[in-house]
């Protein structure tokens, strides 16, 4: 792997790591498999890109993207709790609806940000080399989100989120309205995903309606690889493992894409196959380890 491919994987690992933290929040904390993310990632990108092209400060556009993502997640939560639609189905419905909404927001399938001011320009103004601006910026932001998330999951509200995903009957008996918790939790998760989407759009210079395809798979792969390799003994450890898992996942993909065996080389279209194989390996690893130890 070349140095630039390595730096690229780190950069992608951190920025998608913020999305992975959102997936961790639904998939692991709330026990709510949420496919909304495939729509809320481009939603965040679209809102941020359109805001920037309308002269909004790029940092402020991140908050707008998060608000939009929160709303999308909250709708999935509402469909699930108030209308009793199965969580997976509720999230798929929001996801496909977001496809249309994202095109409406962008007034087309994509918006270019070439030449526009982005949050990465702030990093470069601090004197960072252009190729380091993105990885450093994203590392700082992912670090900030990790710290906030770990703090949050130790607050009264955070504990109710953890308890809701763990034992529904118990937390209801403690007087908690689990509908509100699910709506808020899935909302928060998608706010993080939209935040990542906004950063990705600003980094690659465009928002595209199809940029969210496969987000949930990448998110799950990162969470599972992370907890298999780095452990998930405590909440803090699981949060850090999720982001490290994201970096590891991007590394493996970069390695696979750079691999050449004779005439054979992977093409970007093989990415899905590699991801699926990676998740299977990560999920099978604990059982295999146990069997080998006996």
């Amino acid at each position: 792997m070349s140095f630039f491919a390595f730096i690229g994987a780190i950069e992608q690992g951190f920025v998608y790591g913020i999305m992975v933290l959102g997936v961790y929040l639904t998939f692991r904390v709330l026990d709510f498999p949420d496919l909304t993310v495939d729509g809320s990632l481009p939603l965040g990108a679209a809102v941020s890109a359109v805001a920037i092209t309308h002269g909004v400060n790029p940092f402020l556009s991140l908050f707008l993207a998060m608000a939009a993502g929160f709303l999308a997640g909250a709708i999935t939560g509402l469909l699930n709790t108030k209308l009793r639609i199965l969580h997976l189905l509720a999230s798929i419905l929001t996801m496909i609806a977001l496809y249309s909404i994202n095109i409406r927001i962008m007034d087309g399938p994509n918006v270019s940000l070439l030449g526009a001011n982005t949050v990465l320009d702030a990093g470069m103004r601090l004197g960072l080399a252009p190729y380091l601006a993105a990885p450093v910026c994203f590392a700082v932001m992912a670090g900030l989100v990790m710290v906030l998330l770990i703090w949050f999951l130790h607050t009264e509200l955070g504990l109710t989120l953890l308890a809701t995903g763990d034992n529904h009957q118990m937390i209801v008996a403690q007087g908690v309205n689990t509908h509100k918790v699910v709506i808020f939790g899935v909302g928060l998760s998608n706010a993080l995903v939209a935040f990542a989407g906004a950063l990705i759009a600003q980094n690659q210079g465009a928002a595209d309606v199809n940029m969210g395809v496969g987000t949930i798979v990448a998110g799950l792969a990162s969470v599972i690889v992370g907890e298999t390799v780095f452990g998930a003994g405590s909440v803090a450890r699981a949060v850090v493992a999720a982001v490290l898992g994201s970096i590891l996942y991007r590394m493996v993909i970069a390695l696979a894409l750079g691999l050449k065996i004779g005439d054979f080389a992977f093409s970007p279209s093989d990415l899905n196959l590699i991801t699926a194989a990676l998740v299977v390996c990560a999920m099978a690893a604990p059982a295999l380890k146990k069997r080998l130890a006996r």
């Binding site: 130790h154 009264e156 509200l157 953890l162 009957q169 209801v172 008996a173 007087g175 309205n177």
Partner: protein, 264 residues
């Protein structure tokens, strides 16, 4: 205190499996009553408790708590006034959270939860003191995950959590039935201790007639969703297992000999 007026509940209403789980049940629970609830399988004991807890909306009838109509209140809203322990010892606690986190969730029962620390140092000191009372040595292990504990230990903690904030009514749904006899006895002693100490109004469902006779100041027997026996005070103290069996024979006849209740 708590009042049920002609509460009726059908399960699977309108289908071939329709069951009348509660048949116009009226029950007036006074402050400080410790009521044991017996009856054979399917008599409606657990459904009676669930109707008070708000697990479902009754088909008809009203439930009032301290004069306030709570019939339409959702389960989580009623929980502010109720302490609950379930038959399944794993149902009352969160396995992935620590002992102190579980207790902290119980300490804020019925209160809004915000962004302050989930478990404060004050909480820890208080929990240490409270957990010491149940005598299992768990006060040294407050930061341990509850999933590491045995069913009996978890049930003891559930009982403590249900009474950590004084509930208006404590609902115990066969809370010793899934435990081994020795542990069940320990939990029963703890129950008696906590109820007496705080003078709690309690409803305890049990399969065990000796338990039902030994504990509490009042006993009710359910059969096919209706209360067929309601004795209190001196009359209850004089009651013997044979009297209860006779009562059962009277309503059920031969059917009774095959019932699980005879075994206990």
């Amino acid at each position: 205190m708590i009042e049920l007026a002609e509460v009726t509940k059908y399960f699977h209403r309108g289908s071939v499996n329709q069951v009348l789980a509660l048949d116009k049940v009226s029950l007036s629970v006074s402050d400080g009553d410790f009521i044991t609830v017996i009856g054979s399988n399917g008599a409606g004991k657990s459904t009676l408790l669930a109707s008070i807890a708000g697990s479902f909306l009754p088909d008809s009838g009203t439930i009032t708590l301290d004069g306030e109509d709570i019939t339409a209140w959702p389960e989580h809203r009623r929980a502010a006034h109720l302490g609950r322990v379930f038959q399944d010892p794993l149902l009352g606690t969160c396995a992935s959270l620590s002992i102190e986190q579980n207790l902290a969730l119980a300490l804020r029962r019925g209160q809004p939860r915000g962004l302050s620390r989930g478990v404060t140092d004050d909480d820890r000191a208080f929990f240490g003191h409270e957990v010491h009372k149940i005598g299992l040595g768990l006060e040294e292990r407050l930061a341990d995950r509850i999933g590491l504990l045995s069913g009996g230990q978890r049930q003891a903690l559930t009982l403590l959590m249900a009474t950590l904030v004084r509930p208006k009514v404590l609902l115990l749904d066969e809370h010793t039935a899934a435990l081994d006899p020795k542990t069940a006895n320990a939990i029963l002693l703890l129950t008696e201790h906590l109820v007496t100490e705080q003078n709690l109004t309690t409803l305890m469902v049990t399969h065990n007639m000796n338990q039902a006779l030994k504990l509490g100041n009042r006993l009710i027997m359910l059969h096919q969703g209706a209360i067929i026996l309601d004795v209190a005070g001196e009359e209850k103290r004089r009651l013997k297992v044979n009297d209860l069996l006779a009562q059962f024979y009277a309503v059920k006849g031969e059917e009774f000999s095959s019932d699980k209740m005879l075994l206990t």
